[in-house]
C-alpha cells in the first residue's frame, strides 16, 4: 500500500449507488480486514461469518449492506455490492511503480515491430518480428513474445511470461508471471507404436479484460484457434488444452485442467481443481463446485459436483473403502432376502 490519505467522500466519488452514513470528510489512509481492523483504515463486510467483528471495529469506516448499517459503530459506506465498492476504493491504495515509457536498452526487439511509444518494455524482454504492441501496454522483465503477436491497449504482462507466435491478446488484459500462452497443443498420431507429432497450426485468441494466472498454460489450436472470450479470469496453474473455448465472463479457479476441444459457456464459475474431459460442452451459467470431474456435456445452467467429498480420519476412510468394495455383496444379500420373502409369501 502507498502512504496516501483520502477523504471518504473522495473515495466513493465515482462509485454508483453508494451512500455515506457518518462523516464524509473522514480521512482514510488504507484498507484493512474487519477482523483485524486498524484506526484510519476502511474495511468491508460481505461474509456474514465476519459480522461479529463489526461492533468492536477500530476501522474509520466500513463498507457494508444497508441491512448492516444500523449495527455499524463507525462511518458506514452503504452499498448494494460491498465487495465491488471495496474493490473500487482499494484501487486508491494500490502502488504501481511508475515506469518510464519506452524500451529498456537490454530488451531485444525483432524487425518490423509496431510498438506504441507509450508502451513499457522492461529489461531483458525478447520481442520477435512483426509484433504489434498498442498504447499503454506494459511488459515485465524477461518475458518472451513470439513473432506476429498482437497485444491490445493497456494490457499488462508481468515478468517472465511467454507468448508464442501469432497469439492475439485484447485490451486491459493481465498475464501473471510464468504464464505460457500459445504453446503447441498435445497432438500425436500413433504409427506402428511410435508417436508422431501432429503439427499445431491454430492460434490463441484472447479477448479484452482477460486475466491469466501465474504458471497457467494455454495451448494453441491444432487447426482452428483456442479462444478465451472477454472478461474471462483464470487463476494459477490452470491447463487449457488446444481448441478449448471459454465463454465471456467465466471465472476459473486454480489447478483446473480443461482437455482438448471442450467448450465452456459464458458466466460460468469453475471451482478449483475441477477437471474437464475433452470434447465436452458446458452450458452458460454453470457452476462447478471445487474438484468436479466433468466427463459428459452439461446442457443446462445449474450447480454441478462429483465424487465423494470431505476428509475423514484415515481409519474411517479405510472402512468406507471396504464398505464400497462390499457393495455388490450387499446387493446380492438383499436379493436373497427378497426371494426368501417372496417364496414364503407364495
Amino acid at each position: 500500500m502507498n502512504n496516501m490519505q483520502y477523504k471518504l467522500s473522495d473515495l466513493i466519488k465515482n462509485v454508483d449507488a453508494v451512500a455515506i452514513k457518518g462523516d464524509p470528510d473522514c480521512l482514510i489512509s488504507g484498507v484493512c480486514t474487519i477482523q483485524h481492523s486498524q484506526p484510519g483504515h476502511i474495511a468491508f463486510l460481505t461474509n456474514s461469518l465476519y459480522r461479529k467483528y463489526l461492533a468492536a471495529t477500530q476501522a474509520a469506516a466500513v463498507i457494508l449492506l444497508e441491512a448492516d448499517a444500523a449495527s455499524c459503530p463507525v462511518n458506514a459506506v452503504i452499498s448494494k455490492n460491498p465487495h465491488y465498492t471495496y474493490a473500487r476504493i482499494a484501487a486508491f491504495f494500490e502502488t504501481q511503480t511508475p515506469l518510464a515509457a519506452g524500451i529498456h536498452p537490454s530488451a531485444v526487439i525483432g524487425s518490423e515491430c509496431s510498438i506504441d511509444p507509450s508502451a513499457v518494455i522492461a529489461a531483458n524482454c525478447v520481442i520477435g518480428n512483426k509484433v504489434k504492441i498498442a498504447a499503454d501496454v506494459r511488459i515485465g522483465p524477461a518475458s518472451a513474445i513470439g513473432d506476429e503477436v498482437e497485444i491490445g491497449e493497456a494490457t499488462q504482462i508481468d515478468a517472465r511470461v511467454s507468448i508464442y507466435a501469432k497469439v492475439k491478446i485484447g485490451k486491459r488484459c493481465r498475464m501473471l508471471s510464468g504464464a505460457v500462452i500459445g504453446s503447441d497443443g498435445f497432438g500425436f498420431a500413433n504409427q506402428k507404436g511410435v508417436w508422431h507429432k501432429v503439427p499445431q497450426l491454430g492460434r490463441v485468441i484472447i479477448g479484452d479484460d482477460v486475466d491469466v494466472g501465474a504458471n497457467t498454460t494455454i495451448d494453441r489450436g491444432a487447426i482452428e484457434d483456442t479462444i478465451i472470450e472477454d472478461g474471462v479470469k483464470l487463476d494459477n496453474l490452470i491447463q487449457v488444452a488446444h481448441n478449448v473455448k471459454i465463454g465471456a465472463h467465466t471465472v476459473i479457479a486454480g489447478c483446473v485442467g480443461i482437455a482438448g476441444s471442450s467448450v465452456i459457456g459464458k458466466h460460468c464459475l469453475i471451482g478449483g481443481d475441477s477437471m474437464i474431459a475433452g470434447h465436452v460442452s458446458i452450458a452458460d451459467q454453470v457452476i462447478l463446485t471445487g474438484g468436479t470431474r466433468v466427463t459428459k456435456s452439461i446442457e443446462n445452467a445449474g450447480i454441478y459436483s462429483s465424487g465423494i467429498i470431505g476428509a475423514v480420519s484415515n481409519q474411517e476412510f479405510r472402512k468406507n473403502n471396504a464398505r464400497f468394495n462390499r457393495l455388490e455383496n450387499l446387493m446380492q444379500r438383499v436379493k436373497s432376502l427378497e426371494s426368501e420373502i417372496k417364496e414364503r409369501k407364495a
Copy 2:
C-alpha cells in the same frame, strides 16, 4: 499456416499405404477441420462422430479410411491411419521461423562449451560451463542451461526453459516454454521435528524424440537418475518426481503427477489428471483413464480407472454423499433382516 499451395499428389509422396481417389493434381492451400471445411483445404476424418459432416464438406480433399471413401463427395486420400497421414500432410503447412544459425550477442555462454555452428541460441539465453550442444539444436529466448548439460541433434528448446546441471537430452526432442528439467528432488530427513535437505545427486536422462510440455517439471534423481526413455510425450503441467522412470513411447496427458521412484512401462497411455503414488510399478501397455489414482503396482497390461466418475447436479451429489455415509447403517440393517429370517426358519 503459411501461404503455400501443394498438389495433392505431392503431399502424400512420402507417406506409406496411401492412395488418392479423385484428382491427384488438385491444389491444396491448407488444412481444415471436417466440421468447418474450407474450399482449397484438406480435412481428415477419424472420429465417427464427425462422419455426418462428410457429405456436405467443402474441403478440396478428405483423408479417411477406405470404408468412408465411397461417401466422400470430394477428392479422397485413403489411408489405413488417417490421423498419421494428416500429421504428415499438415507438416507442409507449418511455419517455422527460419533462424540464422549462431549465438545471439545477448546470450551469455560459459566456458569450455562445445556448441555446433549450426545450432541457434536465441537472445538472452544463459548457458553454463562445459555444455555440449549438437548440430541443429534450437534454444529459444531467455532459457537457462546449467553446467555440463548435453543436448542432442535437432532438439528444440523453446523460450524460457530451465535445464539444470548435468541433464542429458537426446536427439529431436522438444521442450515447451516454462519446462523445468533437473530441479532437485523433494527429499528431506526429519531430525527432532526439523526437516533437513537430503542432497540430490542424480541426473535427468532424456532419450530421443521426447516432448516435454509447458511448465512441466522433471526432478533429478536423489542418488541414481530420473529416466525418460525414447519417444515419451509429456503434456503441460506434469510433475515427474525424483527417480521416476518412464518407458519408451509412453504418452502422458496434462496435470498428471508421478511421485518418487515410480516406474511406468513402455507404450502406456496415462490420462490427464492421473496421480501415481511413489514406489509403484506400472506394466507396459497400461492405459489409465483420466483422473486415475494409482496407489499399488499394476502388473498387467490393460485399462485401469478409479473412483466415482461424472458430474451430477449438486443436489444429487449431496444425496450420493449422504447415501455413501449411510452404507454401514445399510449393511447393519441387512444383517438384522438376515438374522430375523434365519430365526424364523429355525
Copy 3:
C-alpha cells in the same frame, strides 16, 4: 557427484549419535542405493522393503539402525536416524559450482538497492529498486526480483524465478526454477455480470529455511499477508492462494492446491495432490494422505484421507459406478423388506 574420497570417520565427525562398526579409515568415494550398491560407496537402509539387499551389498559401508547392524556384511554406520545421517554424509559429495561473488554484467539492477558484496547475481537477472540482498545470497540466471524485495542470508534462488514486489524471504531458503512468489491473488468482485479486479495489497512473507519447488506459485495477500513460516518445504507445482498461512516445519508434496485464507498448522505432512478448500483451518501435526480433499476445518492432530482409493480394472470401475448409482434403490429395497418383516410380525 564430485570425485572426492573421504575417510568414513571424517564423514560422520559432526553427526550426533552415530557409531562405526568396522573400519573407520575405510575410504568412501560416493553414495549409492542399497539395491544397486557399488564398491567404495556408502548406502543407507531405512525402508524394511530393502533389507533383503543388505546381505549381498557391495557397498563399502551402510548407514543403518542398530537392529540391522548384525546383518551388515560390511562397515556399518549405526544411527538412530539413518536417513538424516545419510543426508549429512551425502552433502560431502554434492557439487555446487563455485560462483564468483558479484553481479554479472548482463544483470540489470534498479536504484537504491543494497546488495551484499558476497552475493551472486547471475547473468540476465533483473532486480528492481530498493531491493535488499543479504550476504551469501545466490540468484540464478534470468530471475526477476521486484521492487523492495528483501532476501535473507545464504538464500539460494535458482534460474528463472519470479519474486514480485515487497516479498520478504528469510535466511537459507531455496527457490527452485520457475517458482512465482508474490503474484496477485485471485480476487474479483462481480458487478452486473462483469468481474472487476479486487486490488491485491498484501505481501508474501517467507521465514527461514523454506524450500519452494519448481513452478510452484504463492500469491500475495489481498489485504493482509500470505505467510510461510520457518522450515516449510513445498514441492513442485503447488498453488498457494492469497492469505494462506502455512505453519512452521510443515511439508507439502507436489501438485497440492491451497485455496484462499486457509491456515495450515505446524509440523503437518500434506500428501501430494491434496486439495484444501478456502477459509479452513488445519491443526498442527495433521497428516493428509495423498489426494485428500479437505472441505472443512480439521481440529485435531491425526491422519486424514478422503474418497475412494486405488485403481481397478476399467470393467470393475464401471461396475462400481453402477453400484454406487443404485445405492438409493438398494436402500429402498431394504426398507421394503423391513416393513414386510414387521408386518408379518404384527
